[in-house]
Symmetry: C2
């Protein structure tokens, strides 16, 4: 039975009561302000801007976040900062400021057009003084030219005759979760232009932004610069309106940072002055999204909520993937929120990357090259911790050095030690795994030669120094680690980690053979650079064969780590209904003593190394671990993986429940934390659930093939995958 | 007899061997480099740029000087600074830099088109490697948009096939007579643009300049930014040429200072990016000059050298008069050289202003308003010296405070005291005189009410405190002064000064009557502001009537100052020929003990107050003072005045000699100091000599009338004068 009740609230019905390309909001509800700000986030591969309103509200959380613009901060070392806000657009009707929390809203609709990448809003508003005016706002962050942003506002008077004043500007020094990161170096205005030149306080990244205001059909002379408080320049125009007259205003914004150009303030000005019209910018933007959707769209028929939600998840990932920058990656909240400080986790390689590898390989390559550029940081980390090779940071930022906080304030003010940066070592195989998947799928030998091989080999070198020979058991241990299930830290022989390391070392050897044969010069250079010796490579095979995994030979059940089966067993159903994670409910310490999983661990392994486990083994482990996993408030990384494995076990209805939990996590605020930002890994998992779960795609030497397990209500599933320069079209019907 | 031999050198013959609108140079003569740099100066009311060559030479003196951009300096207090050079434009033919001092010049012609305001140059050059190429350079400083400058270079290969590289840029920190005044705040480049943002070291005037390079008929992509030494950005392009192929390059430059806009660097960029094409800029520039010439041109027929030279002198004045700025004035060397540090003297009011009052009254008004804005400085000077009212600085800059150097290094290293700033007080009447002339000619009552009255009245107040009652003689003395003839300083009762003060006080009273009657409110406010009392005003009349002047009642001969007639008399002819001033020849001290005039003093008075002296008195004084004046190397302010008075005495041939000395002072380097810059006062005197001398124009209550005394070779003299909103056309024939 499909239980969709949780998603069939009036809100969600409103959401889908439209085309399959539009996320709608039909009332202005201040209580959902922050959640909807996340939902209506726009991005263009360079920056993300939360869906706050142009006119601003007292408790709103405006944010514009640019890839790679980190600044130093306490505890988290470095964080992506909230950049100067480009949205401010204030309209005054007969002197009264347009605000939806004053006067009367006669009609309201906000729309995120996923196909076009546009957020728009229609409001019919009666001012406190009784003037009725209609507003149509629309905005986009150009996908065609990442340094251009634009807002168009059409104002139609219904019954008002008189002056409407429009003032647009910037908010130059927004804080990031309370922390100041900006100093304004210079700002000013001239004609119908304003600009801002600022710099981050510690990392000294320069930021330049410029804007112009255009009154359609009027001379620019009608716009002038106003010097506001703190010498803050804005652009102002006053329009004479009368009933049934519509005026159109366009705010065109350019912005640059010193990350991409040495002179961002000048570049912003130069580009702005020479900027095409709003319409021309918009046309190029729409065409760019059209090209993206051509390859990445997934069509689902028979289930409009699934259709809309898959597109929403794809949109947010396609909107955040860096297009022209291979020194940044995708944070767990995309560029839509500040949780996790914008650090980079395995979320990118394991959850987000498959969509891009199979439909936008150039973007996948950018993200993987970020890991190549951060190898030096990974080597520093290994060296500092007494190991060899490259040890990727659990949380990574610009340099690849570890930026996971070591101590964080606990709920009662005590300091809590966070071990992930020290011992959540599976990140090292995750990166290697993604590099391998990219290569296998694309056949991009050059990238593997120039970047991938060094990643896979130097992280393999690390494992050699990290494993310990257990003389008693006559095998290798990997002790004191954290697996994907972070409810249990400082464990020995985490099965996920050990088997993945096994795969890693075996893969590294296979890769080395290929490299020596195909690119002997490169292999010789790498051998010298990474101190690779033939006898050492033999050791890799030995380690791979002898890594300890506690698996019951009869049933195939794998113990998550040594001693897991000895922990207290718990029936999670006893705690339902709840609105918190089990860890939140029981506490960190108590949870770690119980068989409660935050997210799949052994099962995650069985998904990643899908071909190594037969259906019976999967069934045994699924039956054991799935009931012990906190599906509702554990990690948002889990549901999509469970959906895939459920499909593998021919349980499409259970799969669908997991799938919808992932697919709707942001649209329906399933976990009540969507205000913190988009769940990027979940979004990537949603695509994997559709492709590898419901469509049952498996990779063969001849390309992808589908073994579908469609949910009962899906009548059609259509998508395409690129495999070694060829597109494979899938059009599956029930 | 007309003796034109001095001007009929081959050089001058070349000069005039053309239309009546072009100054020509037909050979590149390094020995005349600096003189010709002055001659080929361009200006647009905002800046002046000396005629140095785009490619630069080891000993050249490039200078771009902007009105009002002063910076602190030793001795002279403050000086107009040499602004970053916008000209650099380097061409390399097959790697060899185009320089007229290497390879071979097969043809050369430089031209200053006075009508169009364009300097152009044609050079056919054979490179050291033997490649022959033709260059056509042209440049202008836009009169239509004072912040735009442009260079066009057309290169035609005669026999060369290969690469020509063009590199354009700025010289960002030129020195001003050896002194550093600039710090570069920022510079950079992007696409086909470069920019510079700098600041004066002491006065903190910001300067912004930007340039782009356009290859006609090619994509901008062919131009790129090169980072040279000291991070100095230039724009570079490489062109493939072949015989008979012409390539055209355009360098468009914008520049601003913080004097006119708070954000000059940004403004320069904004304007540059949105700049019209070279052709469009040029068309607007030509049209602007056309409008100027329509009112200010003087047509002389029968004497092409006079025709060309009058236009040249007019051109340089019209090119320097500030168009949109009433807080600057015209320095004695215009904006073409650094002599006198760019300070403002009486040269502007007495010599330059009449041209503008009668043909470009809006520009005259700007210049007079400069004196209004500097009244506060003049009041400070009066107060510091123990006087009341306003005492204009002999040398004035931005604030109106006195900036005449008090001590300067003498020829033998000794310190020489310069008294002009303390006692050359006639400047106070000169300013009042010019304000009055402006008003009388234009009828601009509003300006007189708002600015002029305060100038004339407060400077009159000064005289009241400056004169001394001489109980013995029962008259007022003005003691310890310097008159126009600076060969004699610290004199008592200089006749020029005393009679001008007489005029000043009488005029102030007449003005006051008018003001009280026409604008009682303004007069009341001024009375309060300037502490004007009725009894005090009566005193003015008394002082005017009793100022001491030693005039022989029988002959009308006026003694230049008390004791002049007792000084040693000298026959100047005894010292001819000479190439120095008499003061230079005899020394300061010795000259001051002799009856040798640097420039007209009593005769100057007779010109300024022309109606107060009859012909007989003029003749007496002319016969006495003219032979005692150093016409050739004394002040360049003298010859034009002598020309006028010679006309009044019906001596047009003698007048013509004086006239040509003034008219050719820069073109023919008559005084051998043209390299220091244009002689602005002389240029203004040249116009006055033509209009008030040869045409014999006198002002009546019904407007100007002409009583011509044309030189024998002039067949026609045509010009127009504006009198109280009406144009009066003069077309005089011999």
């Amino acid at each position: 039975m499909l239980d969709l009740s949780v998603y069939s609230s009036q809100q969600n019905q409103q959401l889908i009561d439209s085309t399959d390309w539009n996320v709608l909001e039909t009332e202005f509800d201040p209580s959902r302000l922050h959640h909807q700000e996340t939902v209506f986030t726009l991005g263009n591969g360079y920056l993300g801007t939360r869906g706050t309103f142009e006119e601003g509200y007292p408790h709103d959380s405006p944010a514009t976040i640019i890839h790679g613009v980190y600044d130093d901060v306490a505890i988290a070392s470095t964080e992506l900062v909230n950049c100067p806000n480009w949205l401010p657009f204030v309209v005054k009707v007969a002197g009264e400021r347009f605000r939806m929390d004053s006067g009367e809203i006669l009609h309201y609709e906000r729309r995120l057009d996923l196909r076009l990448g546009i957020v728009s809003r229609d409001v019919r508003w009666r001012s406190p003084a009784g003037h009725t005016v209609e507003f149509h706002f629309e905005r986009f962050a150009s996908l065609a030219n990442q340094n251009f942003l634009a807002i168009r506002c059409q104002i139609t008077s219904i019954d008002f005759e008189g002056d409407i004043e429009v003032e647009v500007g910037f908010h130059p020094e927004p804080r990031t979760q309370g922390v100041k990161h900006w100093q304004t170096l210079k700002q000013g205005g001239l004609d119908n232009l304003i600009w801002l030149h600022s710099q981050t306080l510690h990392s000294a990244i320069e930021f330049g932004m410029a804007a112009k205001l255009i009154v359609e059909g009027e001379e620019t002379a009608s716009v002038c610069v106003r010097q506001g408080e703190h010498h803050h320049s804005t652009l102002v125009t006053t329009l004479q309106v009368e009933p049934e007259k519509t005026v159109t205003l366009e705010k065109i914004v350019t912005l640059y940072t010193s990350r991409e150009i040495p002179t961002p303030a000048e570049a912003a000005l130069i580009r702005l002055v020479a900027a095409p019209s709003y319409s021309t910018l918009l046309a190029a933007h729409i065409a760019a999204w059209e090209r993206v959707w051509q390859d990445s769209d997934v069509v689902i028929e028979g289930d409009r909520l699934s259709q809309l939600s898959i597109r929403y998840n794809l949109f947010q990932l396609l909107a955040v993937a860096p297009r022209y920058d291979d020194r940044v990656s995708i944070p767990p909240k995309t560029l839509s929120g500040f949780a996790y400080s914008g650090h980079i986790f395995w979320d990118t390689e394991i959850f987000i990357l498959p969509l891009l590898i199979h439909t936008q390989p150039a973007l996948a390559r950018n993200l993987l090259t970020y890991r190549y550029h951060t190898l030096r940081g990974a080597r520093r980390k290994a060296q500092e911790m007494g190991y060899r090779g490259a040890m990727y940071a659990w949380e990574s930022a610009s340099t690849g050095d570890e930026v996971t906080p070591r101590w964080v304030p606990g709920p009662n003010g005590e300091q809590v030690r966070i071990w992930c940066g020290d011992i959540e070592v599976h990140i090292n195989t995750d990166v290697a795994y993604a590099a391998w998947q990219y290569w296998q799928t694309t056949g991009d030998d050059e990238w593997m030669r120039d970047c991938g091989a060094e990643i896979i080999l130097d992280t393999a070198v690390f494992w050699e120094s990290r494993v310990e020979w257990n003389q008693q058991r006559h095998c290798y241990d990997i002790r004191d680690t954290i697996g994907p299930d972070e409810n249990h830290d400082r464990v020995d022989n985490n099965a996920f980690t050990n088997v993945m390391v096994q795969w890693h070392l075996q893969t590294a050897l296979a890769l080395w053979d290929w490299l020596v044969k195909s690119y002997p010069d490169t292999s010789a250079q790498l051998a010298e650079k990474l101190y690779l010796q033939p006898e050492q490579m033999e050791l890799w095979g030995d380690i791979a064969n002898r890594l300890y995994v506690n698996q019951d030979l009869a049933t195939g059940l794998i113990e998550q780590f040594e001693g897991f089966f000895n922990l207290e067993d718990v029936n999670l159903a006893d705690y339902e209904p709840r609105t918190k994670s089990m860890q939140g409910l029981l506490g960190v310490e108590a949870t770690s003593q119980k068989q409660i999983l935050k997210q799949p661990d052994v099962l995650m392994l069985m998904y990643l190394l899908r071909d190594r486990f037969d259906r019976k083994t999967l069934k045994t482990n699924w039956d054991y671990y799935s009931p012990r996993t906190d599906h509702s408030y554990g990690s948002s990384l889990g549901p999509a993986i469970h959906a895939i494995l459920a499909c593998d076990l021919n349980q499409p209805v259970e799969a669908y429940t997991h799938f919808m939990r992932a697919a709707m996590v942001d649209l329906a605020d399933v976990r009540r934390n969507a205000h913190e930002g988009i769940h990027a890994a979940s979004a990537g998992g949603v695509w994997q659930a559709v492709i590898f779960g419901f469509a049952g795609v498996r990779m063969t030497n001849f390309g992808p093939i589908a073994c579908p397990n469609l949910p009962p209500n899906w009548t059609r599933l259509k998508f395409r995958l690129k495999w070694r320069d060829e597109w494979h079209e899938f059009d599956l019907t029930a």
